[in-house]
């Protein structure tokens, strides 16, 4: 089921502050989209608006090209999983899952046995086949998560909306449920929109990432594109650690303000003036002092051990220290000396927070 959001505006109740500020988003059928951003960015607000839980003041929202009518119409097409699962504590797992079927008008409601069969089918799908008779309080976080998902899927929706679904789970369960969810998405042919504040999670699971900030969409791209071409300094920083260096572009050369950083050539399209260069710690390179003019000040480098396949270092600049890392494998013979110069020529350039080169 496709979702088309056009120029959506939602104000905070009783105020002129915009929770959603002219948001447009197009999710084609079968896509797995992650909405990411810091808290208060409007991710959940957008998700709730798509679900029809909240209204909006301006804009249009089309599901499969049509405006949605009543809540009951939506219910059949949308499955929603809440951040804290919102299971019904006084019902068994089976009753929780069958709720959407139990409340159907008599004429459309499947028979008791058909409902029971559907519940068992979902329990099997969620890999909790024996949980039907338990109450939610007896389940672990991961199991509750699966029950919430089963409940959302009971009526056979084509659009699945997930609000921070992994927030309360421990890291190992998180990882396994992520992979499993992705597989489920493929298998059931769903269109899925997931809200998360964890960019790693988004990158791993989604085929498109929508970064939000201050109620607006800052960038909407594939994980690869987002990493390669972040549109703003915020996106760059949000996606992971990104040391930044101020400097000035002049005559096609970026000259960093701080000592110990090598100037580098920039594209001719970059207008002269002050810029901020940002790059990932693994994109920073080190040159020995002898490779360039000996007058260049040399900065001390401190080794910080190896983890996650990288050897980590800190470069002691005059006012601060900057982390950088190089891949840790035996063939990598790069020897880091106790001091050197930093080559940051792989950086993306930003001016006033916007990408400029």
């Amino acid at each position: 089921m496709s979702v088309q959001v056009e120029h959506l505006v939602r104000y905070a109740p009783g105020s002129t502050r915009r929770l959603l500020n002219d948001v447009s988003l197009n999710v084609p059928t079968g896509a797995f989209v992650a909405l990411v951003g810091p808290s208060g960015a409007g991710k959940t607000t957008l998700l709730r608006a798509i679900a029809g839980l909240d209204t909006f003041e301006q804009g249009t929202l089309l599901l499969d090209g049509q405006t949605m009518g009543t809540m009951r119409d939506r219910a059949r097409k949308i499955g929603f999983v809440f951040q804290n699962y919102a299971l019904f504590p006084h019902m068994t797992v089976a009753k929780n899952i069958s709720f959407g079927l139990d409340v159907l008008p008599r004429s459309e409601r499947p028979s008791r046995s058909a409902i029971a069969a559907r519940v068992q089918e979902l329990l099997d799908l969620m890999q909790i086949p024996d949980a039907g008779a338990s109450y939610p309080a007896r389940l672990s976080g991961g199991q509750r998560q699966r029950v919430a998902l089963a409940r959302a899927l009971a009526t056979g929706p084509k659009l699945l909306l997930l609000d921070e679904p992994f927030g309360a789970l421990d890291p190992i369960v998180r990882r396994s449920i992520r992979t499993w969810l992705k597989a489920l998405h493929e298998r059931l042919g769903l269109t899925t929109i997931l809200v998360t504040h964890d960019q790693d999670e988004a990158v791993e699971i989604a085929d498109r990432i929508v970064v939000m900030q201050h109620g607006q969409i800052v960038q909407d791209a594939t994980p690869e594109e987002l990493n390669r071409n972040p549109q703003t300094a915020f996106v760059m920083e949000f996606l992971g650690e990104a040391p930044s260096f101020n400097g000035i572009v002049q005559d096609g050369l970026m000259v960093p303000d701080e000592a110990g950083l090598l100037p580098f050539a920039v594209d001719a399209s970059v207008p002269p003036g002050p810029v901020t260069a940002m790059l990932r710690p693994y994109e920073i390179q080190v040159c020995g002092p002898d490779e360039r003019s000996a007058q260049e000040p040399v900065i001390p480098l401190v080794a910080e051990g190896a983890r996650n396949g990288y050897r980590h270092y800190r470069a002691q600049l005059a006012e601060r220290s900057v982390p950088f890392s190089i891949p840790d494998f035996t063939e990598n013979t790069v020897e880091i000396q106790a001091s050197g110069l930093l080559d940051i020529s792989r950086a993306r350039l930003f001016r006033d927070g916007e990408r400029c080169g």
Binding site: G79, F80, F82, F88, R151
Partner: protein
């Protein structure tokens, strides 16, 4: 040692203030034996009073349960201008003296009241009649269901209802299947508090009733009449019965807790 003395003090206070009075009532009722006590209860006026009390209690509990559930729903699930004022207003009957609550109904429906004469002409009697007693009792017991439901429903938030809504449930399905079962312990507790309070209401009822024996006397009013007429045994028998009924209601409030504990032991 200090812990022990506190414990003793608590029990002394409970016995003196809470247990002694009802015990004395029962003792007074049974002073001349069980038979006279039971006989006094089966007096026609006594039976009428018991019956009227049950009627009034049933109507008040029903009215305030329906009102309480809807009011708690509106107060916790929606944010609207004047909401906090409404939350305070709901408690008004708790703070106003019951006598004043009774007088209000007289001012409205009494012979010299605003609407009294018109209603009287239409043949509808409210003041000094059963409907007046019911109105007064409903007013006095109005806050209990709301006040026990609001904090719980507030704390539960809207998630479960929203989940139900997104599963396609309509208003009544959400109310019956999700909201009320989720708040059932608080609701039960509120209903029993209302029951206990409705049975015992004296002040407001006294003002609107007119004290017509066998007609508009509830149990508390009948007890007063008997006592003032020096019918001690009858007065205390009725009082013991009333106290017993109210205590039953209060004890029942803890029933869900006991049940849960018992189930836990079984499991």
């Amino acid at each position: 040692m200090r812990k022990y003395s506190l414990w003793v003090l608590t029990w002394v206070l409970i016995v003196l203030v809470l247990l002694m009075p009802p015990a004395v009532v029962v003792a007074e009722a049974l002073k001349t034996g069980l038979a006279p006590a039971l006989a006094s209860l089966s007096d026609p006026d006594g039976l009428a009073a018991i019956w009227l009390t049950l009627e009034v209690t049933a109507v008040s509990v029903l009215a305030n349960t329906i009102f309480g559930v809807l009011a708690a729903w509106v107060l916790t699930k929606y944010r609207f201008p004047g909401r906090s004022a409404l939350l305070v207003l709901v408690e008004l009957p708790l703070s106003i003296s019951p006598v004043v609550s009774g007088l209000v109904w007289l001012l409205l429906f009494g012979v010299q009241g605003w609407w009294g004469p018109a209603l009287e002409q239409a043949g509808i009697h409210i003041a000094f009649a059963v409907p007046g007693i019911m109105l007064a009792t409903i007013f006095v017991t109005l806050p209990y269901v709301v006040r026990t439901l609001v904090p719980l429903m507030e704390q539960q938030g809207r998630d479960a209802e929203e989940a139900a809504m997104l599963a396609g449930a309509g208003f009544w399905n959400i109310l019956w299947r999700v909201t009320l079962p989720g708040a059932r312990v608080a609701l039960f507790s509120g209903i029993l508090l209302t029951t206990a309070r409705a049975m015992g209401e004296f002040g407001a009822v006294s003002v609107v009733s007119g004290h017509i024996p066998g007609m508009t006397e509830t149990m508390p009013l009948h007890i007063e009449s008997l006592y003032n007429g020096y019918q001690t045994v009858a007065a205390f028998s009725m009082a013991a019965l009333l106290a017993g009924m109210a205590m039953m209601a209060v004890l029942l409030r803890s029933a869900p807790e006991w049940l849960a504990r018992w189930r836990e032991k079984q499991a």
